[in-house]
Symmetry: C2
Subunit: 678 residues, 2 copies
């Protein structure tokens, strides 16, 4: 039975002071990934510049920017908070540290919300065009998901064809982007437990339209508008709720189009690149492109063989890698930080990209070889690369054109006889745990109330709670070290682990998405739980269950958002009572800032392992690390040391589990239901 031990760990300062972070800046081998280490030797030998070199060259980084107290919002500046008092303690306009830090932070949320929601808008637009007959290569792959979505939104299904129903649902989604009334967003409201709805109304942070909230953040952070840090932060949080709405829309419609993921086996790390095959790497985020590339590759296998290849090897990087991994078992080449290292193998024929997290640096590496970079989206180009506009009305043709370029490039590569350098390192992994797939596993034990399997395991102390692992790579941390250490540390403490994004790619590469991971790292409670789940499901599973459950790409954090809201409902409480935490050990992007913010506002203690630019204001710091807890239940745990981070996350879970136990005891004594005792 868990007990609450260490209050001192809650809301404590980071264990490593600012000046002691980023040690050994000249050591570019900041990773524990054996494939990356091998490739870094190679790139150093060949004098190929990668992000690891550039990170080193950027040290020392500007301390004003790092702490968030540099303001470039108007061009009377740049202004920096240079002193604690006097005229240098403010920007030229008089903005203080707290205003500057808060403005910068919420603009990051707006950037993240824009990225996720524009991604979602593209999916919805493809859906609508498909319904209108203009995107013939797409189809409804999972009608059941559509029905569930329609039911959740309160859309009647009677007398409607699937296409008619889908169009109606898609139009509701589109309205969430652009509507100009004050009503809550349909795709947000349909997924929140009652407690959260009330909280957001009480705090006046109910978003009205996704696009509008971005504009409002940009407006209120304009020079001479909002100077109040609390008001600014609440405005940012409202925008972050628009962000999760966009993610939800992206996930829901991607599942309808391409299928809701189910457990699937694959492999991860650079060893999946096969020099004898035509290697096409899909990189970016949106399955609209990558799913079609996977389908095209299947059809063109013979064409590749005719060109002398052993076949076509599609592999993925970043979230589009996660999308095709979870739906088609396509192997992962690597994650964000090593994207250039995949190209440095010299064995990639085409890297096709859409949007987000595509390093401009890939062009330089590709130019060292015969590798073709193909951009596909009008708003995302890289000078010096190929641009093949991805046209949804002839999606399969576009995808084939890309594969064909890969086959041609393969031929040149083979003819040139140029040696390649592929590290023979890869790990087995299991992925594909959509929320539906998870519930399906639980249902084998409790068909009536599947989630009870999880909540009961927490209430009876077998599990300490659940942790979402999400986020990016950031060389402020040693690449993939924090990811893996936190997973192992939490597993030892019997925390049920779900995850998305580049964290799950690290887990996959390091063998943590396997049962071997369970055997090595799981505490007894977690192991028993996973074993029990497997026993009940073994007939339908491709392998034994893994240590961590890969729930998808970054937008699929919406699946985890659904999970904790459903757990709250199952337990009859609001989210902050659920023993659930989150960790982004190597967060980097504005999307991560947006996600972290809505996770917080959802009531989840959220660890971030790389320092967001907040340290410049004590006020903002205390708001997001302490006061947020009192208002929303969630708060940031900003801690760069992974070992300490594990302790803090465990403390946060123990605190919730301890409260839960007390409430349970009270409920038993007074003879009430647990749910009524909260």
């Amino acid at each position: 039975m868990p007990r609450f031990r260490d209050t001192s760990l809650l809301n404590s300062k980071p264990s490593v002071p600012r000046k002691d972070r980023k040690k050994n800046p000249k050591d570019i081998k900041r990773t524990i990934d054996p494939a990356a280490l091998e490739m870094l030797d190679h790139t150093q030998e060949c004098n190929i510049i990668t992000a690891f070199d550039r990170w080193s060259a950027q040290q020392p980084q500007c301390a004003f920017g790092y702490q968030g107290i540099c303001c470039r919002i108007c061009f009377a500046g740049p202004c920096r908070i240079k002193s604690d008092e006097g005229p240098g303690s403010m920007g030229i306009c008089g903005a203080r540290d707290y205003t500057i830090v808060a403005r910068n932070a919420i603009r990051m949320m707006a950037g993240g919300c824009s990225a996720h929601s524009d991604h979602a808008r593209e999916v919805v637009n493809v859906v609508l065009h498909m319904c209108e007959g203009h995107a013939p290569d797409y189809k409804i792959t999972d009608p059941q998901k559509l029905y569930r979505l329609a039911d959740k939104l309160g859309v009647s299904r009677e007398g409607k064809s699937d296409m008619e129903l889908l169009k109606e649902v898609a139009e509701i989604a589109l309205a969430d982007f652009g509507k100009q009334d004050e009503k809550p967003l349909s795709f947000l409201w349909a997924n929140l437990c009652e407690g959260r709805k009330q909280k957001y109304m009480d705090c006046d942070i109910v978003p009205r339209a996704i696009d509008r909230e971005v504009v409002e953040v940009m407006h209120r952070t304009h020079v001479g508008v909002d100077a109040d840090p609390i008001n600014l932060i609440f405005g940012g949080l409202k925008c972050s709720l628009a962000d999760v709405t966009g993610e939800q829309i992206a996930t829901d419609f991607s599942d309808i189009l391409f299928g809701t993921p189910k457990p699937v086996m694959s492999e991860a790390n650079l060893g999946v690149i096969d020099p004898e095959k035509v290697n096409v790497v899909v990189h970016g985020h949106n399955p609209i492109l990558s799913d079609m590339v996977v389908a095209a590759a299947k059809e063109m296998e013979e064409e590749a063989k005719a060109a002398g290849a052993a076949g076509i090897q599609i592999s993925g990087i970043c979230c589009t890698g996660n999308e095709v991994l979870m739906r088609h078992g396509i192997p992962l080449a690597t994650s964000y930080m090593a994207q250039e290292l995949a190209l440095a193998t010299g064995a990639v024929d085409v890297m096709v990209v859409d949007v987000q997290c595509i390093m401009p640096g890939i062009r330089n590496v590709a130019e060292c070889f015969n590798t073709k970079i193909v951009t596909t989206i009008p708003i995302s180009k890289i000078p010096g690369s190929y641009h093949i506009p991805f046209d949804e009305s002839r999606a399969m043709d576009c995808a084939k054109e890309i594969i064909r370029l890969g086959i041609e490039t393969f031929k040149v590569r083979k003819e040139s006889g140029r040696p390649v350098k592929v590290p023979q390192i890869k790990s087995k992994c299991m992925a594909g745990f959509s929320l539906e797939a998870l519930l399906d596993l639980f249902a084998a034990i409790n068909p009536e109330r599947p989630l009870r399997v999880l909540t009961d395991a927490i209430i009876n102390g077998e599990l300490l709670g659940v942790c979402l692992l999400a986020g990016c790579n950031n060389l402020e941390a040693i690449y993939e070290k924090s990811h893996t250490e936190i997973i192992k540390g939490l597993a030892q403490n019997n925390v049920f682990l779900v995850g998305t994004g580049c964290v799950m790619q690290a887990a996959a590469k390091h063998g943590l998405l396997t049962y071997e991971g369970v055997e090595k790292y799981a505490g007894p409670g977690l192991k028993a739980f996973i074993d029990r789940l497997y026993e009940a499901n073994k007939d339908k599973l491709p392998d034994k269950l893994p240590l961590a459950f890969h729930m998808g790409s970054c937008v699929d954090n919406s699946r985890v958002f659904n999970l904790w809201n459903l757990m709250a409902e199952e337990m009859g409480v609001d989210v902050p009572k659920v023993p659930f935490v989150a960790s982004a050990p190597e967060a980097m992007s504005e999307k991560a800032v947006a996600i972290g913010s809505w996770v917080l506002v959802n009531g989840i203690p959220t660890h971030v392992g790389t320092m967001p630019p907040l340290e410049g204001s004590n006020l903002v710091w205390s708001v997001v690390t302490c006061i947020a807890h009192d208002v929303f239940g969630g708060y940031f745990i900003l801690e760069t040391d992974p070992e300490v981070a594990v302790k803090k996350l465990v403390a946060a879970l123990e605190y919730r589990a301890w409260k839960l136990r007390i409430h349970k005891k009270a409920a038993e004594e007074y003879g009430t239901e647990l749910c009524q005792a909260f």
Copy 2:
């Protein structure tokens, strides 16, 4: 007859190298405004910190940020372009100088567009609520403007009441913010000449919805999306066209609600503050608030007198000052940079603000006295100030509450006997030149084709052309020196001057919005033109016409946008053929960046007298100063020396006038109409 003399001045580098700008940083008296100079002595004596001190304390400013080569878009950074080659020449992700500069620049456009369009959205929402009966203190003041607007948008007026018509038109405006289709924006398309429409379609920069374009800019500038500087800039320009649409909407509906401005006399500078009266300063941007405050003050004059005051003195700062100046003759206290100096007089009882350009620093100055700062808008608060939410459903009550606070404060001020310090400096000024008012002046000479009066004067060489003066204050320049010197310099060169924003406030304060200004500074052609205009209109004008024509607030740059599009149509050409330039001598805000960008893309050579963060990339620099000319006709003239700026602006106008003359000659020789010769 103008001739084109000096090609060397077109597209030349700034005359002052970067290191020689911002001289004498420790001299805080960076202004030629005599009232400001007097107050700066006073603030130094009293140890009151203002923007002038803070500017000085910020020197030297970060050279990376100043040049636009600091990237804080993700938090792997901050990254700075530290060298010309090698890993330090790129950000950690591999972004080069041109990507970083372009991303930063277009995010500024998105910030400006958000500010203007959120302002416009508020006006439209008030209009809609009024139509629905929920904003009883507002009314249709100018039905003629409504009819013209309906006609322009192609909305039938038949059988509709004014309110019904207004509602229909307002709903079209609202759709421009949030619609999700690919059609052009109604309020943009209705105001463009054919040449510009075609140009924007050719360049694929037709905005689809105001909010959506902001989101797209935020998305494409997210880490790992658009790396192509040209693509980024075109994306920004599309967003800037969304910006002018927002401004157009703000202007059109403000005119309908509060009246289309007509020539009006008033006064400007701190001397308008009367210590014997209740002084209420309106500051910010949106007439929704300020117009109601003016109305409330009129009703409460007796209440103020009963409290011992000589009356109520409303005065304005920034664009809301322009709004009430042009519609009600309310005097201007001062402009952006001196807003704190107005408070330092100790004679202001209440400063009521809404959104944009409100220095957070005003709070500290107000606290030195008994002055109350009142914020009114949920997204714009200042810690330590009063917040009276401005509720449109009881607008007059809210306005009265604010005035009443002023009366109470006045009483305390008088009782305390505390001395005040008001510089006895003010200038007479004429304002209120809406486009309609200008056309009305021209119509007295040519009732059939009023604009011919202006275009003929240019074609026959009496005028060299037209210049829009717009923009902010920025202490990189000596406050109001560049504004006034450029106005005088252009006037000497017979340039017809129209203007908005803080530039026109400088002109007002320095006596340039008077006929005395014409006598002192106008070249013979300009003087003859203004005299002729006055002679034809003297019966209906309150005074002789001024040297520069004050067309309103920043959103009223839309009036000037209408002017040059109508001139182009009148001359049968596209805008780049019209001898029209623009100058923002002391630009500072993101709104100025957005405006400058759409002015450029409209085909107008645009001088900026303070350096936007572009110098870090030679590529971006050449695009916006040279290549833009070939694509759009407009381009930036980035020049910090006002004397050289005048020469460059005159050269740009002479180039256009010279081409115009050649075309005219050709037209005459071949017997065609001028319009056909272009």
